[in-house]
Protein backbone atom coordinates (compact mmCIF):
# COMPACT_ATOMS: atom_id res chain seq x y z
CA UNK A 1 0.00 0.00 0.00
CA UNK A 2 1.31 3.43 -0.88
CA UNK A 3 2.18 5.63 2.16
CA UNK A 4 -0.24 8.31 3.18
CA UNK A 5 0.65 11.96 2.81
CA UNK A 6 1.27 12.08 6.59
CA UNK A 7 3.71 9.13 6.45
CA UNK A 8 5.47 10.56 3.43
CA UNK A 9 6.04 13.91 5.14
CA UNK A 10 7.38 12.14 8.27
CA UNK A 11 9.88 10.14 6.23
CA UNK A 12 10.91 13.23 4.26
CA UNK A 13 11.48 15.21 7.47
CA UNK A 14 13.58 12.49 9.12
CA UNK A 15 15.62 12.07 5.94
CA UNK A 16 16.28 15.80 5.75
CA UNK A 17 17.53 15.86 9.37
CA UNK A 18 19.68 12.83 8.65
CA UNK A 19 21.27 14.57 5.69
CA UNK A 20 22.06 17.75 7.60
CA UNK A 21 23.34 16.24 10.87
CA UNK A 22 26.72 14.77 9.77
CA UNK A 23 27.85 18.10 8.35
CA UNK A 24 27.22 20.03 11.54
CA UNK A 25 30.48 20.99 13.29
CA UNK A 26 29.80 18.90 16.38
CA UNK A 27 32.52 18.38 18.95
CA UNK A 28 35.20 20.05 16.87
CA UNK A 29 35.90 22.67 19.47
CA UNK A 30 39.18 24.48 19.00
CA UNK A 31 42.07 22.81 20.75
CA UNK A 32 44.11 25.96 20.89
CA UNK A 33 46.94 25.66 23.34
CA UNK A 34 46.20 27.22 26.70
CA UNK A 35 49.22 29.50 26.44
CA UNK A 36 47.65 31.57 23.71
CA UNK A 37 45.58 34.16 25.44
CA UNK A 38 43.12 35.80 23.20
CA UNK A 39 41.78 38.91 24.83
CA UNK A 40 40.67 41.02 21.95
CA UNK A 41 39.02 43.70 24.02
CA UNK A 42 39.01 47.09 22.43
CA UNK A 43 41.24 49.57 24.15
CA UNK A 44 43.05 46.96 26.20
CA UNK A 45 45.88 48.67 28.00
CA UNK A 46 49.30 48.19 26.50
CA UNK A 47 50.88 45.48 28.61
CA UNK A 48 52.75 46.95 31.50
CA UNK A 49 56.24 46.11 30.39
CA UNK A 50 56.66 42.88 32.36
CA UNK A 51 57.03 40.69 29.30
CA UNK A 52 60.54 40.47 27.87
CA UNK A 53 60.89 42.67 24.86
CA UNK A 54 62.45 41.10 21.83
CA UNK A 55 60.96 43.44 19.29
CA UNK A 56 64.16 45.23 18.44
CA UNK A 57 67.63 46.21 19.47
CA UNK A 58 66.27 48.89 21.80
CA UNK A 59 63.69 48.41 24.54
CA UNK A 60 60.23 49.63 23.59
CA UNK A 61 59.40 53.21 24.52
CA UNK A 62 56.47 53.42 26.89
CA UNK A 63 54.60 56.43 28.16
CA UNK A 64 51.54 57.40 30.13
CA UNK A 65 50.50 59.97 27.53
CA UNK A 66 52.22 60.43 24.20
CA UNK A 67 51.97 63.93 22.77
CA UNK A 68 53.50 66.06 20.05
CA UNK A 69 54.45 69.73 20.00
CA UNK A 70 54.94 71.62 16.73
CA UNK A 71 57.24 74.62 16.92
CA UNK A 72 55.71 76.17 13.81
CA UNK A 73 58.20 79.06 13.60
CA UNK A 74 61.00 76.60 12.89
CA UNK A 75 59.24 75.06 9.87
CA UNK A 76 61.04 76.30 6.75
CA UNK A 77 58.64 77.41 4.02
CA UNK A 78 57.77 74.62 1.63
CA UNK A 79 59.50 71.92 3.67
CA UNK A 80 57.81 68.52 3.39
CA UNK A 81 60.47 66.32 4.96
CA UNK A 82 58.21 65.02 7.73
CA UNK A 83 55.44 64.16 5.27
CA UNK A 84 57.78 62.36 2.88
CA UNK A 85 59.41 60.36 5.68
CA UNK A 86 56.06 59.40 7.21
CA UNK A 87 54.45 58.41 3.96
CA UNK A 88 57.44 56.30 2.94
CA UNK A 89 57.55 54.57 6.33
CA UNK A 90 53.87 53.70 6.27
CA UNK A 91 53.30 52.89 2.59
CA UNK A 92 50.89 55.78 2.18
CA UNK A 93 49.66 55.79 -1.42
CA UNK A 94 49.90 58.83 -3.69
CA UNK A 95 46.91 58.78 -6.02
CA UNK A 96 47.99 62.02 -7.61
CA UNK A 97 44.67 63.82 -7.30
CA UNK A 98 43.15 65.72 -4.39
CA UNK A 99 39.83 63.88 -4.60
CA UNK A 100 41.37 60.53 -3.62
CA UNK A 101 44.06 62.09 -1.40
CA UNK A 102 45.35 59.85 1.39
CA UNK A 103 47.59 61.49 3.96
CA UNK A 104 48.89 60.85 7.45
CA UNK A 105 50.44 64.30 7.79
CA UNK A 106 49.03 67.31 5.98
CA UNK A 107 50.43 70.79 5.41
CA UNK A 108 48.04 73.67 6.07
CA UNK A 109 48.23 77.45 6.46
CA UNK A 110 47.98 78.70 10.02
CA UNK A 111 44.91 80.84 9.25
CA UNK A 112 43.16 77.73 7.94
CA UNK A 113 44.11 75.49 10.83
CA UNK A 114 43.40 78.13 13.47
CA UNK A 115 40.60 80.11 11.86
CA UNK A 116 39.15 81.12 15.24
CA UNK A 117 42.46 82.15 16.75
CA UNK A 118 43.71 84.25 13.83
CA UNK A 119 42.30 87.42 12.27
CA UNK A 120 42.92 89.33 9.03
CA UNK A 121 45.25 91.92 10.60
CA UNK A 122 47.86 89.37 11.67
CA UNK A 123 51.13 89.67 9.75
CA UNK A 124 51.52 87.38 6.77
CA UNK A 125 54.59 85.89 8.48
CA UNK A 126 52.23 84.26 10.99
CA UNK A 127 49.06 83.86 8.94
CA UNK A 128 50.84 82.40 5.95
CA UNK A 129 52.96 79.92 7.91
CA UNK A 130 52.48 76.35 6.84
CA UNK A 131 52.18 73.90 9.70
CA UNK A 132 52.04 70.11 9.58
CA UNK A 133 48.73 68.68 10.77
CA UNK A 134 48.50 65.22 12.28
CA UNK A 135 45.95 63.00 13.89
CA UNK A 136 45.53 64.72 17.25
CA UNK A 137 45.30 61.46 19.22
CA UNK A 138 42.51 63.05 21.23
CA UNK A 139 41.87 62.34 24.87
CA UNK A 140 38.22 61.97 24.01
CA UNK A 141 38.33 60.72 20.43
CA UNK A 142 35.03 61.04 18.55
CA UNK A 143 36.22 58.58 15.90
CA UNK A 144 36.50 55.84 18.53
CA UNK A 145 32.99 56.51 19.78
CA UNK A 146 31.40 56.11 16.38
CA UNK A 147 33.36 53.13 15.04
CA UNK A 148 30.87 50.26 14.78
CA UNK A 149 33.52 47.52 14.73
CA UNK A 150 35.96 48.97 17.26
CA UNK A 151 38.52 49.03 14.46
CA UNK A 152 39.73 52.31 15.90
CA UNK A 153 40.43 52.35 19.59
CA UNK A 154 42.41 54.24 22.19
CA UNK A 155 45.41 52.66 23.86
CA UNK A 156 46.28 53.26 27.48
CA UNK A 157 49.16 55.50 26.40
CA UNK A 158 46.77 57.76 24.49
CA UNK A 159 47.52 56.60 20.95
CA UNK A 160 44.37 56.34 18.87
CA UNK A 161 45.05 53.20 16.87
CA UNK A 162 43.53 51.68 13.78
CA UNK A 163 43.10 47.93 13.44
CA UNK A 164 42.96 47.76 9.66
CA UNK A 165 41.84 44.13 9.87
CA UNK A 166 38.54 45.24 11.36
CA UNK A 167 37.81 48.35 9.29
CA UNK A 168 34.73 47.91 7.14
CA UNK A 169 35.08 51.27 5.40
CA UNK A 170 31.87 52.84 6.72
CA UNK A 171 33.64 56.21 7.15
CA UNK A 172 31.73 57.14 10.31
CA UNK A 173 35.12 58.04 11.80
CA UNK A 174 35.84 60.40 8.92
CA UNK A 175 32.54 62.15 9.55
CA UNK A 176 33.21 62.31 13.27
CA UNK A 177 36.79 63.60 13.13
CA UNK A 178 36.72 67.41 13.22
CA UNK A 179 40.29 67.64 11.95
CA UNK A 180 40.11 65.73 8.66
CA UNK A 181 42.86 63.47 9.92
CA UNK A 182 41.47 60.35 8.30
CA UNK A 183 41.65 59.26 4.70
CA UNK A 184 39.70 56.62 2.83
CA UNK A 185 41.21 54.33 0.22
CA UNK A 186 38.64 54.61 -2.52
CA UNK A 187 40.82 52.45 -4.76
CA UNK A 188 43.36 49.68 -4.22
CA UNK A 189 46.29 51.65 -2.81
CA UNK A 190 49.03 49.10 -3.45
CA UNK A 191 49.88 50.16 -7.03
CA UNK A 192 50.07 53.78 -5.88
CA UNK A 193 52.60 53.24 -3.08
CA UNK A 194 55.74 54.87 -4.46
CA UNK A 195 58.24 52.60 -2.65
CA UNK A 196 56.98 49.66 -0.63
CA UNK A 197 58.40 49.29 2.86
CA UNK A 198 58.09 45.58 3.75
CA UNK A 199 58.15 46.33 7.49
CA UNK A 200 54.72 47.94 7.38
CA UNK A 201 51.57 46.67 5.66
CA UNK A 202 49.70 48.58 3.00
CA UNK A 203 45.95 48.99 3.19
CA UNK A 204 43.27 47.67 0.87
CA UNK A 205 40.46 49.34 -0.97
CA UNK A 206 37.70 50.39 1.42
CA UNK A 207 39.89 50.90 4.48
CA UNK A 208 40.40 54.17 6.36
CA UNK A 209 43.87 55.11 7.52
CA UNK A 210 45.56 57.77 9.63
CA UNK A 211 48.63 58.70 11.67
CA UNK A 212 49.45 56.19 14.43
CA UNK A 213 52.16 58.25 16.20
CA UNK A 214 54.55 55.64 14.78
CA UNK A 215 53.38 53.06 17.27
CA UNK A 216 55.44 50.41 15.45
CA UNK A 217 58.60 52.50 15.83
CA UNK A 218 57.97 53.25 19.50
CA UNK A 219 57.77 49.48 20.04
CA UNK A 220 61.27 49.24 18.53
CA UNK A 221 62.51 52.02 20.80
CA UNK A 222 62.74 54.84 18.27
CA UNK A 223 60.84 58.10 17.97
CA UNK A 224 58.36 58.76 15.15
CA UNK A 225 59.69 59.09 11.61
CA UNK A 226 58.58 62.72 11.26
CA UNK A 227 60.35 63.71 14.49
CA UNK A 228 63.64 62.02 13.67
CA UNK A 229 63.74 63.34 10.10
CA UNK A 230 63.05 67.00 11.00
CA UNK A 231 66.34 68.87 10.65
CA UNK A 232 64.95 72.01 12.32
CA UNK A 233 63.78 70.09 15.43
CA UNK A 234 60.38 71.67 14.90
CA UNK A 235 58.59 68.50 16.00
CA UNK A 236 58.94 67.52 19.63
CA UNK A 237 57.55 64.24 20.86
CA UNK A 238 57.35 62.68 24.29
CA UNK A 239 55.44 61.70 27.38
CA UNK A 240 53.23 64.51 28.73
CA UNK A 241 53.10 62.88 32.15
CA UNK A 242 56.89 62.84 32.41
CA UNK A 243 58.11 66.19 33.81
CA UNK A 244 61.53 65.79 32.23
CA UNK A 245 60.35 64.99 28.71
CA UNK A 246 61.19 67.37 25.85
CA UNK A 247 57.56 67.99 25.01
CA UNK A 248 56.66 68.76 28.61
CA UNK A 249 59.56 71.18 29.05
CA UNK A 250 58.64 72.97 25.82
CA UNK A 251 54.98 73.29 26.81
CA UNK A 252 55.96 74.45 30.31
CA UNK A 253 58.07 77.25 28.90
CA UNK A 254 56.01 78.70 26.07
CA UNK A 255 52.48 79.57 25.04
CA UNK A 256 50.86 76.86 22.93
CA UNK A 257 47.47 76.27 21.34
CA UNK A 258 45.57 73.25 20.15
CA UNK A 259 43.21 72.77 17.24
CA UNK A 260 39.56 73.48 18.07
CA UNK A 261 39.79 72.76 21.80
CA UNK A 262 36.21 74.06 22.24
CA UNK A 263 34.94 70.77 20.82
CA UNK A 264 36.11 68.94 23.92
CA UNK A 265 38.11 66.32 22.07
CA UNK A 266 41.30 67.10 24.00
CA UNK A 267 43.79 67.10 21.14
CA UNK A 268 47.32 66.05 22.03
CA UNK A 269 49.17 67.87 19.28
CA UNK A 270 50.23 71.30 20.54
CA UNK A 271 51.23 74.21 18.31
CA UNK A 272 53.69 76.95 19.29
CA UNK A 273 53.27 79.87 16.91
Amino acid sequence: MAPTRREFLKIAGVSAIGLVLPTLPGGQISNLSPHITRSAQAGMPASGGVSPTVSGPLPALRAKRWAMAVDAGKCPPGCRDCITACHLAHNVPDFGNPKDDVHWIGLERVDHVFSAETHPRLPESIKGLSVPVFCNHCENPPCVRVCPTQATFQRADGIVMMDYHRCIGCRFCMAACPYGSRSMNYRDPRPFVPKQNPDFPTRTKGVVEKCNFCEERLARGIFPACVTVCKEKALVFGDLEDQGSDVRRLLDGRFSIRRRPELGTGPQVYYLL
Binding site: N31, S47, F153, N197, D199, E215
Partner: protein, 133 residues
Protein backbone atom coordinates in the same frame (compact mmCIF):
# COMPACT_ATOMS: atom_id res chain seq x y z
CA UNK B 1 -0.88 7.92 -3.30
CA UNK B 2 -0.76 8.51 -7.00
CA UNK B 3 2.23 9.94 -8.81
CA UNK B 4 1.24 11.84 -11.93
CA UNK B 5 3.77 11.84 -14.79
CA UNK B 6 5.82 9.38 -12.75
CA UNK B 7 8.04 8.39 -15.64
CA UNK B 8 9.12 11.96 -16.35
CA UNK B 9 9.68 12.75 -12.68
CA UNK B 10 11.76 9.67 -11.97
CA UNK B 11 13.75 10.16 -15.16
CA UNK B 12 14.32 13.80 -14.18
CA UNK B 13 15.51 12.85 -10.70
CA UNK B 14 17.83 10.22 -12.16
CA UNK B 15 19.34 12.74 -14.61
CA UNK B 16 19.77 15.27 -11.78
CA UNK B 17 21.50 12.73 -9.52
CA UNK B 18 23.85 11.69 -12.31
CA UNK B 19 24.77 15.29 -13.17
CA UNK B 20 25.19 16.29 -9.51
CA UNK B 21 27.44 13.32 -8.80
CA UNK B 22 29.62 13.69 -11.90
CA UNK B 23 32.50 15.28 -9.92
CA UNK B 24 32.55 12.32 -7.53
CA UNK B 25 32.64 9.45 -9.98
CA UNK B 26 34.70 11.37 -12.52
CA UNK B 27 37.53 11.80 -10.01
CA UNK B 28 37.12 8.33 -8.43
CA UNK B 29 40.35 6.42 -8.02
CA UNK B 30 42.44 9.45 -8.90
CA UNK B 31 44.29 10.89 -5.89
CA UNK B 32 45.56 14.45 -6.10
CA UNK B 33 49.13 14.25 -4.79
CA UNK B 34 49.61 16.11 -1.50
CA UNK B 35 51.55 19.34 -1.89
CA UNK B 36 55.31 19.14 -1.93
CA UNK B 37 56.30 21.69 0.69
CA UNK B 38 59.83 23.02 0.56
CA UNK B 39 61.62 23.57 3.86
CA UNK B 40 65.06 24.22 2.43
CA UNK B 41 65.32 27.99 2.70
CA UNK B 42 68.68 29.43 3.76
CA UNK B 43 67.25 30.58 7.10
CA UNK B 44 65.94 27.11 7.93
CA UNK B 45 69.19 25.45 6.80
CA UNK B 46 71.05 27.68 9.24
CA UNK B 47 68.93 26.57 12.21
CA UNK B 48 70.56 24.05 14.55
CA UNK B 49 67.23 22.55 15.53
CA UNK B 50 64.81 22.71 12.65
CA UNK B 51 61.80 23.70 14.72
CA UNK B 52 58.99 26.17 14.19
CA UNK B 53 57.77 28.34 17.08
CA UNK B 54 55.54 25.43 18.14
CA UNK B 55 55.70 21.72 17.20
CA UNK B 56 54.96 21.06 13.54
CA UNK B 57 51.70 19.07 14.05
CA UNK B 58 50.34 21.92 16.16
CA UNK B 59 51.39 24.50 13.58
CA UNK B 60 49.93 22.46 10.75
CA UNK B 61 46.55 22.34 12.46
CA UNK B 62 46.49 25.69 14.24
CA UNK B 63 48.78 28.19 12.51
CA UNK B 64 45.80 30.26 11.43
CA UNK B 65 44.54 30.50 15.02
CA UNK B 66 48.01 31.34 16.25
CA UNK B 67 48.31 34.08 13.62
CA UNK B 68 44.90 35.41 14.63
CA UNK B 69 45.98 35.51 18.27
CA UNK B 70 49.25 37.20 17.28
CA UNK B 71 47.35 39.82 15.31
CA UNK B 72 45.16 40.69 18.29
CA UNK B 73 48.19 40.69 20.58
CA UNK B 74 50.21 43.14 18.49
CA UNK B 75 47.53 45.46 17.19
CA UNK B 76 45.20 45.67 20.13
CA UNK B 77 47.42 44.97 23.13
CA UNK B 78 50.73 46.32 21.82
CA UNK B 79 52.46 43.11 22.88
CA UNK B 80 54.99 41.99 20.30
CA UNK B 81 56.60 39.00 21.99
CA UNK B 82 55.28 35.46 22.13
CA UNK B 83 56.30 32.88 24.70
CA UNK B 84 56.12 29.45 23.11
CA UNK B 85 55.13 26.30 24.97
CA UNK B 86 58.81 25.41 25.45
CA UNK B 87 59.52 28.79 27.03
CA UNK B 88 61.33 30.38 24.11
CA UNK B 89 60.35 33.95 23.32
CA UNK B 90 59.75 35.02 19.74
CA UNK B 91 59.10 38.35 18.11
CA UNK B 92 55.57 38.43 16.76
CA UNK B 93 55.75 39.35 13.12
CA UNK B 94 54.20 37.73 10.06
CA UNK B 95 56.67 39.13 7.57
CA UNK B 96 59.55 39.36 10.05
CA UNK B 97 59.40 36.05 11.95
CA UNK B 98 57.28 33.68 9.84
CA UNK B 99 58.60 34.73 6.46
CA UNK B 100 62.14 35.05 7.80
CA UNK B 101 62.34 31.24 7.80
CA UNK B 102 59.61 30.49 5.28
CA UNK B 103 60.97 32.94 2.74
CA UNK B 104 59.69 30.66 -0.04
CA UNK B 105 56.05 31.61 0.36
CA UNK B 106 55.07 30.26 -3.06
CA UNK B 107 56.61 26.85 -2.30
CA UNK B 108 55.34 26.63 1.28
CA UNK B 109 52.27 28.71 2.16
CA UNK B 110 50.74 28.87 -1.31
CA UNK B 111 51.17 25.21 -2.24
CA UNK B 112 49.24 23.96 0.77
CA UNK B 113 46.65 26.73 0.60
CA UNK B 114 46.02 25.92 -3.06
CA UNK B 115 45.72 22.22 -2.24
CA UNK B 116 43.29 22.90 0.60
CA UNK B 117 41.39 25.58 -1.30
CA UNK B 118 42.14 28.11 1.43
CA UNK B 119 42.29 31.75 0.40
CA UNK B 120 43.86 33.73 3.24
CA UNK B 121 43.83 37.48 2.62
CA UNK B 122 47.00 38.29 4.57
CA UNK B 123 48.89 39.38 1.49
CA UNK B 124 46.44 41.99 0.29
CA UNK B 125 48.03 44.25 2.95
CA UNK B 126 51.16 42.54 4.29
CA UNK B 127 54.06 42.86 1.90
CA UNK B 128 56.11 39.80 0.99
CA UNK B 129 59.69 40.94 1.63
CA UNK B 130 61.07 38.75 -1.18
CA UNK B 131 58.94 40.54 -3.74
CA UNK B 132 60.15 43.98 -2.74
CA UNK B 133 63.84 43.17 -2.53
Amino acid sequence: MKLYDGGKIIAGIAVFLIVASVPFWYGRGKAVPPPDLKLDTPAIERLKEKLCVEPAPYMRANHMKLLGAWRESVVREGNRSYRAADGKVYKISLTGTCLECHSNKDQFCDRCHDYAGAKPNCWSCHIIPEEVR
